[in-house]
């Protein structure tokens, strides 16, 4: 008996069905950056539409997900710019500057006010759904402008130069905001999860 193996199609496939399967991923990505379910939904809709209409442009050199993420990044940036024109983000969400918040975590001599403790083997938490609730809570607690810079860096993988340009700030200012974001996220995770021995 002879099995005839159909030749692998050389055309990369970006079928509407395959594109649709990536929707949950794209939505999660957009929500992380935009922090607004309706805006995230819009950005994803626009991405799916552009992808289906432009499916012929998918070369197959990258994975479908990577290609779609590239389109989504542009749609997210459009959303951020549009939203920024309509209602610019206030300087900062609380009265203290980012530098003051950093200062408040250290003593005058530059020592930690509270020494960061050991988180043990935190990778083990990645499988724990309750950890992710704490993680989401801590991300949501970051003030809007701080979170925007931080997720541009950590979710969208943008280099700091691009973030500075988008937000209209200096590189130094950008590093200060990112430093503050990391210190605040660390402090929250420590309080909500790692420091809590009764979890």
């Amino acid at each position: 008996m002879v099995f005839i193996v159909p030749a692998q199609t050389t055309e990369p496939v970006a079928s509407p069905a395959a594109i649709g399967l990536e929707r949950p991923y794209l939505l999660r990505y957009a929500r992380l950056q935009l922090r607004d379910p309706a805006l995230a939904e819009d950005a994803v809709q626009e991405t799916l539409l552009a992808a289906v209409e432009g499916a012929a442009r998918f070369s197959g050199k990258s994975t479908l997900r990577t290609w779609l993420t590239g389109i989504l990044k542009h749609k997210i940036m459009d959303q951020l710019r549009r939203a920024g024109r309509e209602q610019p983000l206030a300087g900062f969400d609380d009265d203290r500057s980012e530098a003051e918040i950093i200062d408040s975590l250290f003593l005058q001599n530059g020592h930690w006010r509270e020494f960061p403790g050991n988180w043990g083997n935190p990778d083990a938490e990645l499988e724990n759904s309750r950890f992710w609730s704490a993680f989401e809570l801590c991300l949501q607690r970051l003030p809007a402008r701080t979170a925007r810079a931080f997720t541009m860096r950590e979710v969208m993988d943008l280099p700091t130069e691009e973030i500075c340009q988008e937000l209209g700030i200096t590189a130094t200012n950008c590093w200060v905001i990112l430093h503050r974001a990391r210190l605040t996220l660390r402090e929250c995770l420590d309080l909500q999860w790692f420091g809590n021995t009764n979890r």
Binding site: Y25, D103, N109, H111, P116, G117, L178, H179, R186
Partner: protein
Amino acid sequence: MMLNCKQTSELLSQGQDRPLTTFESMRLRLHLLLCAGCRNFNQQLEFMRAALRHYRDRD
């Protein structure tokens, strides 16, 4: 001058955003050798980056 913890945390954070100079890396290494709190912070920075990517990419 030795780096203090605040300066160390600043450089560790920037190390996630730009290449550090040889001099900066050397001063960091020296401080980290002597300071368990900053060693913990360094590991936590790496963990937070990995966790956020895991959260973004999980299926």
